[in-house]
């Protein structure tokens, strides 16, 4: 029972400390991200890679090729 009480106190304490710290860090992280974004005047993180490594240009080339192939096939 005393072991349980100890566990309950420490447990609830840790949960609160953890989530409180998370609130602060999250706020800090968001502030940082948003400041960097506005500093860069724009769109935030733009991911370069895509799922299959195809870039827009290549997609366009392939699409054009397929289109041509179909229309003439």
């Amino acid at each position: 029972m005393s072991q349980g009480l100890e566990l309950a106190i420490f447990g609830m304490g840790t949960v609160f400390v953890f989530l409180t710290v998370l609130v602060l860090i999250t706020q800090g992280m968001s502030a940082l991200v948003l400041r960097m974004d506005s500093g860069r005047d724009g769109a935030g993180i733009v991911t370069q890679g895509s799922d299959d490594g195809l870039d827009g240009e290549l997609v366009a080339v392939i699409s054009a090729a397929i289109k041509q192939h179909r229309s003439s096939g």
Binding site: M1, L7, V15, F18, L19, V33, I45, T47
Partner: protein, 377 residues
Amino acid sequence: MSQLTELWHTTGLYQISFPQFIMILIGLLLLYLAIKKGFEPLLLIPIGFGGILSNIPGVDIAVGTGILHQFYVMGLETGVFPLLIFMGVGAMTDFGPLLANPKTLLLGAAAQFGIFTTLLGALALTEFGVFDFTLQQAAAIGIIGGADGPTAIYVAGLLAPEILGAIAVAAYSYMALVPLIQPPIMRALTSETERQITMTQLRDVAQAEKIFFPLVLLILVALVVPSAAPLLGMFCFGNLMKECGVVTRLSETAQNSLINIVTILLGLSVGSKLVADQFLVASTLGILLLGIVAFSIGTATGVLMAKLMNLFSSQKINPLIGAAGVSAVPMAARVANKVGMEANPNNFLLMHAMGPNVAGVIGSAVAAGILIQFAGG
């Protein structure tokens, strides 16, 4: 003639025991609740069906080389199934509302009171000789109050596998019953005026914030409660796959075929713990009772925390969303929305309640880590 007798002895009708019969009825009841009443069917159908299979006499299904026991050994003894589910849930979770209003994380903390008070309750009942729960069992029972299925199963599998069946059934049943359990408590603890509080629109959240959040969370877990790292690590991994935008095919598999396969196998594995001699014991009743107490306390402390926060902040939050801090995603958030609309039909709390709702997942995973560390091994 003696051969006919022998044949008769191979039938289930001859071999079935009364407890097995009861358990088959309970399995059918779970299926009824899932199919007809919509009680968390994704889990309760496999669990209920697995429970029936496990109580068929004269054949090894839930023991030895039986298929359900094999699934159990493969996925629950190892923790693999709940962790993969957690990864999939992570890949389905949108932290946007939480990031727009990070203070709601505190509501997800407060609602975990239910876990620890129930743990104490279980130990007190043992003290008074009503039940006989070990510290491990008490911890596993408390986690029902976390209102998070995979977390409950993960903790029970590690700390008290002998009561895993009862805990899973309790957790999913009460999650399904959230629309019945929570509203009276929410109404009792709030005034009409409080329930009418409208909240300001949530700000837009940048993609970068969503990418950084699971990493920030992971690092904090690593530094503060490493014992919660398996659960929250897999959760954050799933979420990062979703948000980073460059591994769509992995994220979609984690959210679909993988989580579905694991859900089927996990449900059947849990069903294998519904064998009569493990489930039909007095402690199961205690678990069911304590479970609903845990839910109720979590709901209450979530609401009270919201009221407490309003004392110190100019920007009021509607205390109803505190109840969503227990997790039970997304049911609890919907309940908060519904009760809020009763007081003010134009008050859409759903998005606001999603913040504490996912915060509750984090909160109970942290609590789970602590329980495992103190009561485990």
